[in-house]
Symmetry: C2
Subunit: 169 residues, 2 copies
């Protein structure tokens, strides 16, 4: 049984979601969002992201973490802001000795909705359905839960393939 922390860093809001999963069945534990803009200056904003994620890790003791990989950004200015938030978030994960898995956005959307180009509302709807969440997680929290589900499924599939690979050798 894994406890997976999914993170969705954004330039303004960083979503996080924690699930417990055996790869086939996923249970919702918690989710939320960190508003980075409440800091006065850049170091303060990044400190909030780093410290809040550290607090989440201490509270829920995840065994795995997962994050969406980013290949494109709208423009250089927003890419820099997003990059800084991602850098601080990933630093919090590795500082706690946690492995970080990266998944392409397409795969995350494909996993939870069957459609690689699903929009945010569709992802939010499917995450709520898959995890039997009462109430609605925010869009950012839903994205974080989606990448956690993606990690759970992906690890399970790998594990299923392992014996066959061993036989083939």
């Amino acid at each position: 049984m894994k406890i997976i922390l999914g993170i969705d860093p954004g330039s303004r809001i960083t979503g996080y979601g924690i699930i417990r999963s055996n790869g086939q069945r996923h249970h919702y534990i918690a989710s939320g969002s960190i508003v980075a803009t409440r800091g006065k200056n850049l170091p303060e904003r990044l400190a909030y992201i780093f410290q809040d994620i550290t607090t989440v890790i201490q509270k829920y003791a995840p065994t795995d973490t997962a994050i969406e990989s980013v290949f494109m950004a709208k423009n250089a200015a927003s890419a820099l802001t997003l990059g800084q938030a991602r850098g601080a978030a990933i630093a919090a994960l590795v500082n706690n000795g946690l492995p970080v898995a990266e998944y392409a956005t397409r795969l995350v959307k494909q996993t939870v909705s069957g459609y690689g180009a699903a929009d945010k509302a569709q992802v939010q709807y499917m995450v709520k359905l898959l995890l039997n969440i009462i109430g609605s997680p925010s869009v950012d929290a839903a994205d974080a839960l989606a990448v956690a589900i993606c990690h759970a499924q992906s690890q399970y599939t790998k594990q299923l393939l392992q014996p066959h690979l061993a036989l083939a050798l």
Copy 2:
């Protein structure tokens, strides 16, 4: 007497430099560079930056830290990479409870060379001269030492102005 750690995060190499200063006289302590690209994947590369800066902090116990502010980047892809490195570096500073001061590139160049648009070679030359460094710090380390000097001077100027401001009130 302050011990100032200057950081120059880059997408490939993060320079660092430590000086001891009373605001007027600056003494070179150490400098070096962290090659982020030696990590296999993004979390590993950011972990190197975070951990190496943490090690530098533990070794030299700085009282202040300074970093150049970035407003522009060549393109979205390089801005994202640079942002992630900056985010991990700043996270290491704030995680150690250190204040982080940001200075515009123009001011840093102006401070060490008298010319706000000085090139990297000129900054490197002047840093070597100002700190009486035997041998040459790398370009990245020189940039990091330059922002540390900028912080030292800027804090000293503020302190000098303080009594006048108090009298004026």
